[in-house]
Structure formats: C-alpha cells, structure tokens
Symmetry: C2
Subunit: 332 residues, 2 copies
C-alpha cells in the first residue's frame, strides 16, 4: 500500500509536521530539503521513515527544533559550525554555503560541525559541492555500533565517508559508504521480523559471530574490510569528532529515540577546488569516469541514484501509506 | 642468514649504491631516509628489498635519479609538487616541509604531487606530520591492480590511505591501509614459491575467483570490503591523480621493473591544524586513544610499529644476507 507523493507534497508534509513538533519553520524547511533528497535518492531509511523519531526527539527536547546553528570562520580555510543540538541539516547548509568560495580562494577549505545529529545521506552533502564545481569529502560519525578490531564494546559509529567530484556536462561521481559491512537498519529490520541474519554481519555482546538479530543489536556490527574498516573508523571519529569538538560514537545517544541527552555527534566537510593545481582536473575526472562506465559489468557510483531521481521527480515518490498516516498524526 | 645493520649502515648502503646508479647524492639521501624508515617500521617490503628494482629503474632512466623535484604554491593552502619522474621521496619531503606552516595559517592545506613514483610506507609520511603536531592524511595511487566492482580489468592501484593524529606526550595514532584485501606482495611471493593462495584474495583475468597465484597476477586483486573498497579506490584515484595531474593506476607502468616509461603516479597530502576549531582537540584525541588502548583484545594502530622501531634502533636491523650482497653489487 503506497501513495505517490510529489516533491512539493513531501516538503509540505515534513515542514508542517515538524512545525507542530516544536521546530522552527526555517529548521523544518532544512530537514524537509534533506529528507526529500533522501527519498529522491532511493534512500528511504534516511527519508520520511525518520520522521517519527525526529518528531519524538523534537518533542522531548533531545533535538532542539528551535536551535539556531551558528558558524565562525576560525582560519582562512576553516569554519567551525555549532549545530547547537538542533538537527544537522541547518548546520550542514551553513557549511555548504561557506565552503565553495573558501575552497576557491585557498585551494582547500574545511567546515567542522559539532553538537550535531544525523547527517542523512552523506553522498547528498558532497554531491551538492560537486554541483557547485568542487571536489567534496565528508566524514561523519554516528552513535556507537562498531568495536575496535579484537574488542567487544562499540566505540565507533558506522561512520560514513562520502566523496564527490564534478564532471563537465554530466552528473557528479558520488562515493558514499558506511564503514560497517551492512547497514544497521538491515539488522533492525530482521529483529523486528524475527528473522536470522547471515553470518559475518554482526558480533554478539561477547564479540562472537552471531546470526541472531536480537543478540546482534546488543553486540556490535562487523566492519567492512575487517580490521581495515575499524582503522578507517578511528580516522573518521578523530576527524569529525575529536577535531571538531563533537562526541565520539560511544559518547553519543541514539539517533532513533527521544530519550536522554542530545547525541552531539560531528561532521567534517572538506571542499577542494579542482583547478587548485591547474586546469586539467575536470577533463581528467571524465577520463576515469569514462573508463569505469565503459567497462562491462562495472558502473560509476552515483549513476543509478541520479537516474532514479529524475524518474521520481517526474512520476512521484511511492510512500508507505501506514507511514504517511503515522506522520500525519505526529504532534496532534 | 641475516646480518644486523645499524641505521647509519643502512643509510650509507642505500646512498652509496644509488649514487653508483645515476642518482644524485641529495636524491639518494632522501631515498635512504625513507627505506630506513620502512625497515625500522618492520615494513621490509618497502625497505631495502626495493633497492634492486629502484636501481634498475635509475639505471634505465625509467626513474630519473638526477631529477630535481620542484614545488609551487598555487593557492594559499595548495602546493603543487612536480616529482619530475624522479623518486617520490624528495617530492614528499618538499610537501612535508611546506605543509605545517600552511596548515597552521589556513587551518588546512594540501600538497598534490604528480609525475611521482612509489611513496613507500604511507603511514610514515603522515606520522611525520603528526610529529610536527598536525593531523595528516595521505592518498596515493599505485600501478593498476584492482578492477571496478563487477569489472575485469585493473583500473585502480591498491591505493593506500594513511592518517595520523598527534597525541600529547605519546606516539601518534597512525592508520595505514591499502585498499586491496591483501598486499600484492603476498601473491607475488606465493607465485615465486609455487604456492596456492587462499580464495578471496584475487580474481583471474576473466574476473573469476582463483587460488592460482600465477593466474591471480594476470588478473586483479580483490578489494577490501568488496564494492566499498573499489568505491574508495575511485576516490583515491581522483584525489591523488585526477586532481594533481598524475597518471591513474591503469596508466602507470610498474614500480618494479626497469622497462618502459616512468609510472608518473601521484600523491595528495593534506595537513590539518588540530587547533583550527579550538584548543581541545589534542585532549580529545587522547580520550579516544585511551578508550581503544584500554579495551581487552584491541590495540591502537601504529603502536606495535613504534615499539619495534625503538628496539631496532637499539639492537640493529636484521637484513637478509643474500639481499645485502645483491645490493652491494648493484651499479658495479
């Protein structure tokens, strides 16, 4: 049972619902832009499905819906952004507004966001930089889900890394990976449906492999690439939390329920001017993109998503009817 | 059969041998510092064992041992370094000399190196930035070894990513991973010894899994984390080659033999001032390092290597006798 919603209908639904849940119009509009982007990217797990938990957090005050994100240029190529325990999206928009000119002036620039929250689809943040003609990199952390290699307790989140590079006359190359082998949402879904999970996805609370989804949720996620994945998670945590003043994964409360203190996670966004070293980079990006696209069986990351977006904008976004009814009742 | 060599003996051996092989004293000394560093890090595959192939390349002119690496500040936070088809190490040293002040001034700075070669142990480059008090990131590419996910032909190298962060009063945290599941050297060793390799390391020339080391060398390496590893490889290739003007992995000749044109690979080194967003970052780095170190079964990356270095400096570095005799004969 799905309903087709237009982009404008999704925007209005998210905005008006959040406003009913102690969120300013300005902040609600930023969240709406991000959740619509996620739906158009086929990333429903970062889209409307977040609304019940977002609203619960805004209503309980765990997320401050009225927060005003503020930024401060601390160096010529560094912007410190305080998300003020509000939603991450207004803070990310401040970063994305400042980065292009700073990167063009300096060659490279960074924005570090603290007291932040769920960053949504990481690839969409850097894709916007690429649409502005820049190379973008994003590191973000999420509440504790992965242990150091050999350890039993979650210190790191599933910690996405995203990258985008512009292509002349074509959609950007977008890389977006999280550092767990599979998304935690897949284990949550299996647990809710009473299903087992494949071996290799997760460890139980004693650090042993498990196929029991409920035990997995008490334990930790297996990193992608095993020890190499946790090595990258250390890098991401130090960059987006240690450097910016945000909470590490294991210090952060859940992105999903309305209980307790704010998660206070962080993001580091880096923008690079592709002409910083000379004029040839855009042509050279196109050379590698062409080599990948031209190979049997291979595909350029981001492409499938961009085709989907065009189709959903034309035809409407299929939304789960029960979820829409749940959202429509929020804050009433 | 090993001999114990002191740091000074290794430096002299590398320097004098390279000078006999059409390399300037200055360049030979830079190579010696890097190979000694690799030996002290227990990374013999990036140490003295490279000398026969380095010398063959210098003698044939594939590497220009007389090259003078040059750098140019193209933006306040961007340095373009031309390794001039010489060894990578003199170019990396130019980058490491410029980056600390530029990162402190701007918050973040980058050096892009083109017409370069084998960067050695990637972790050592960023560790030096961390010893100067900076956060360091390195992306480097290597000759083609991995295919895009689903493809059959190698486009990307095994492409290391390295990261280091300083800790007050302790050795830095150093992360250093290559993007193949295992090092290509392990497959080369198995091939030389006529051994099979475990399933999951490599694909044959048709893109099928193989345990035959010789078939594996004709095919491609399996990326760490499967499709996520090749996604990261696209990012690394675009950053360290597309952006800098270097060759992509599939355009680069071998780092190992003296045949053909120069590899012309690239490196991108980024340095970040940990105080760019405020004064707390060093303390916060120590918090995460302590949480990892304090967990049963886990260890902080880089630690084992730093303990080894202290022991090897005190006791001498065990070097293979046959290799030493081979090096002593080079260029005579």
């Amino acid at each position: 049972m799905t309903r087709l919603l237009s982009a404008d209908e999704i925007t209005a639904l998210v905005t008006e619902t959040l406003i009913r849940c102690r969120t300013s119009r300005e902040n609600a509009q930023a969240v709406a832009r991000a959740l619509l982007g996620a739906e158009l990217a086929g990333q429903a797990g970062h889209g409307l499905r977040r609304m019940p938990s977002y609203c619960a957090q805004a209503l309980s005050g765990k997320v401050d819906g009225m927060a005003a994100a503020r930024s401060r240029e601390t160096r010529p190529a560094a912007l410190s952004v305080d998300a003020a325990h509000g939603f991450a999206y207004p803070a990310l928009e401040l970063a994305l507004a400042w980065l292009p000119a700073a990167a063009r002036r300096n060659g490279i620039a960074m924005a570090g966001i603290h007291r932040s929250h769920h960053c949504g689809v990481a690839g969409l943040v850097v894709e916007q930089l690429a649409e502005d003609g820049l190379v973008g990199l994003l590191f973000a952390n999420t509440p504790g889900a992965m242990a150091p290699w050999g350890g039993r307790h979650a210190l790191f989140g599933t910690d996405p890394i995203a990258f985008a590079a512009p292509l002349d006359g074509a959609d950007p190359v977008v890389v977006d990976i999280s550092l767990s082998k599979v998304a935690r949402g897949k284990i949550m879904a299996a647990s809710q449906q009473g299903r087992d999970i494949p071996e290799g996805w997760a460890l139980d609370a004693n650090g042993n492999p498990t196929t029991d989804a409920k035990e997995a949720l008490k334990g930790t996620m297996v990193p992608m690439g095993d020890a190499k994945g946790t090595a990258l998670a250390i890098m991401v945590e130090l960059l987006c939390a240690g450097l910016t003043g945000a909470n590490y994964g294991y210090e952060a409360s859940s992105f999903f329920d309305g209980e307790g203190a704010a998660p206070g996670t962080g993001q580091l966004v880096i923008a690079i001017d592709p002409t910083a070293f000379g004029d040839g980079a855009l042509d050279r990006f196109a050379v590698l993109a062409g080599a990948i696209d031209g190979m049997d069986g291979a595909r350029l990351p981001g492409r499938r998503r961009q085709a989907l977006k065009a189709r959903l904008l034309a035809e409407g976004v299929p939304c789960d009817d029960a979820l829409l009814r749940e959202i429509e009742a929020l804050g009433r």
